[in-house]
Symmetry: C2
Subunit: 446 residues, 2 copies
């Protein structure tokens, strides 16, 4: 009988990350310095990023070597298995073949570790002592804490307040790995204090937490900022996911008809699909689908404009699909998807019709997650469940298709939201269209 | 460079379970029917167990075939990796080589799934509609819920009250897989009511929860009882762990000097070490160490006597190391190790000097767990952390030894206890010697 898992051995961990930029049929619009209104220079980024990551951010090389020290750490959990969801297929009585790349086997339980260790590594090499970051659901915060612990860097995490309370145990993980966790908005930063003065009960958002982390990192010479998504170099590091998946599908004798992943900032989606783009551009044989929450629908309801990456307007201006940097999404449990924008790279792929996007509502997402957990045994993170939902819908069409999705993280630390769902307490959020309309009025003029 | 994991492919999942009984240099003392005071008959067990499991319980065959339906479910997560703890070795600056068999990769996060699916399978085959069981930390309860969900059996779990509150999220898992969870002692059973009338604040124990589950199962023709440890057939199913480990060590060119596992009822320890016993009896080259909590030290401080497996004296009498069936252990966080006795099979190995045992205190165990989590990235369950503690102590002796321990489960659902440890709230318990002395006075006379 056929296997349930397609496994690779450690020698098959990629030796290089793949940089898609060179293979794109268009130029990426450059980030803009909001002060000069001119394209961003490397020097603009020096106060918060190490040079090696800035080089990667703007690199035009198609392949960038993975340092051996990093491959050795990858070997703690990589290559990750590509699983055939045989029991789910049976449950759905589908002719489709469903595969999922299981990134939940990383020590921190999600794909975020793939870039966290890389960012900690380069910062350490360039003499940085401390990293400051934000986190939504806590997947990124725990991953960076893990990475800082490995490289003996100290770490401070601004955690979106709604998640800080919804997901206390990702906080515990960060503490085990020695990081300091602060609910955002906080009194520790100017922008935090400003937001709290306007709304003392503000539940926070990724945009606000980014502002606090960037503000703090910019002020401290020995500290840098670390971002878990959105930027080119983050997506670059995550391409180990898609590169392994390609090998594994080949091994299984499969060609994907659908690639599905959830999208917040875009690193999980990008890391999974970018290695397939070059071939896709030739024959357009794959449907590549980004899944986002209806409560924060940047790709499906946002505008493709230059905007700030954060709420306090401290970041460069990047061209992306955005709901406006002032948009604060409802407190859905998929905290990792509560971002007002989306990676410029992914946004450009969407704008150019190379990928598709779709949005789902909270209750249908959790329903799909429970179906998956009952069939496959593994509990998806609420973010991951967005991909699960669409994969199941595609399979229900019952065509002989190969559906592959990225299982970005497990939900062992999100069980309180499953409790709420099972007890009927969880609610759907309507499209926050008025809030979006309002915040889109505040897009920066260029 | 050498690998971090020794992996097997799915064809290498064992085709048979190993039954050690035949290879032992002694006869196992038979279980006794407390009523007749005569050796237990198969019929005595029929009210609560299916015939096929009873046959396995008393089997003298060395090898018992694993049904294909079971192997197919094993393939969802087996073979599990044998990991080389290279980063921990480095941290400890040890000459020893440390390996751990990672059973935490099962859908339920522990080794318990290995027998849960087997017990559900045979009960289903024999027309049973419902399984009733107990659980301590919730590892077993979630595993059986998972298994019942796979075989469409309904499932009721009596969960030790202290864990029910300490570990709410194992409960969530059980709910996701469709089981009903009841804090024990409860008002649902005679023995539960009796205990609550004596002590309304009773925090419960495995012994009490077993009583409630057995009482309920015995009363319902279509329901059976399911036990997660202690009995021969449970240890039998768990031997897939040790059988795979042997193959993997061979692949790595290693011969173990130490085998270490935590012990509560004994299924995790037994499943890991039993496949090594036959060779061990020949050359006595391996030190086999069972680790238990000082708060519940059956092997190190108990007596080798006939005793009841439960508090309400509903079970047969089995000869085992026991603290007395009335002993209620302090509320340590390693809920899965809070059992007054120990598997008769493991007890006999201890009595005959074939294995050694050692006990550890809660704080040193958590300290070791955090060290491990920082080095290897994986968070051990508090039960598992007992094995981690001893493996680290052995490695600190800095001899060129091969130390192999069983990583029975992850601690993603035990993070509240890590919080308490890190914040200094967690306390040590002294040996409860007076309570033990008292409860040992109540051993049944034969």
């Amino acid at each position: 009988m056929d296997d349930f898992k397609v496994v690779l051995d450690e020698k098959e961990i990629p030796y290089q990350w793949y940089n898609v930029v060179r293979d794109l049929p268009f130029q990426l619009p450059p980030p803009i310095n909001p002060g000069t209104k001119k394209p961003l220079t490397k020097d603009d980024l020096r106060p918060i990023f190490p040079l090696s990551l800035i080089e990667q951010e703007v690199s035009q090389d198609s392949w960038i070597a993975i340092p051996n020290e990093i491959r050795d750490i990858y070997r703690m959990w990589r290559p990750t298995p590509l699983r055939r969801a045989r029991r789910l297929e049976k449950l759905l009585k589908t002719k489709s073949r469903i595969y999922y790349k299981d990134e939940s086997v990383s020590p921190t339980g999600s794909h975020k570790a793939n870039t966290a260790i890389v960012q900690a590594y380069y910062n350490k090499k360039e003499g940085i002592k401390r990293l400051v970051t934000e986190t939504g659901a806590g997947q990124w915060g725990s991953a960076l804490s893990f990475a800082c612990n490995i490289f003996s860097l100290s770490c401070r995490v601004y955690m979106v307040k709604v998640s800080y309370h919804q997901k206390p145990f990702r906080k515990s993980l960060m503490h085990i790995w020695g990081a300091e966790v602060i609910p955002s908005p906080s009194e520790k930063t100017e922008c935090g204090r400003k937001i709290l003065s306007l709304d003392p009960h503000c539940q926070g958002s990724l945009g606000i937490a980014i502002s606090e982390a960037v503000e703090e990192a910019a002020k401290d010479k020995l500290a840098n900022y670390s971002l878990g998504s959105v930027l080119n170099h983050v997506l670059l590091h995550q391409t180990v996911i898609g590169l392994e998946t390609r090998k594994q599908l080949k091994k299984a004798g499969e060609k994907p008809d659908y690639l599905v992943a959830c999208v917040g900032g875009g690193s999980n989606f990008g890391g999974f699909v970018l290695p397939f783009i070059k071939e896709h551009l030739k024959n357009r044989k794959i449907k590549i689908i980004a899944v986002e929450p209806s409560a924060c629908p940047s790709l499906t309801r946002g505008l493709y404009r230059y905007d700030f990456g954060d709420t306090a307007m401290l970041t460069p201006l990047v061209k992306m699909f955005t709901l406006g940097h002032k948009f604060i999404p409802p407190g859905i449990h998929a905290g990792g998807l509560r971002y007002h924008g989306c990676s410029p790279l992914i946004s450009a792929l969407a704008e150019n019709g190379i990928i598709e996007s779709i949005s789902c509502r909270q209750l249908e997402v959790f329903k799909a997650a429970v179906t998956f957990a009952q069939a496959e045994g593994i509990i998806p993170a609420p973010e991951t469940a967005h991909a699960v939902k669409v994969a199941i819908d595609l399979a229900r069409q019952n065509k002989e298709k190969c559906i592959v999705f990225n299982f970005s993280g497990h939900g062992f630390l999100d069980l309180s939201s499953y409790d709420k769902f099972l007890s009927g307490e969880l609610k759907n959020y309507a499209y926050p269209l008025n809030e979006i309309k309002r915040s889109l009025k505040d897009l920066p003029k260029l």
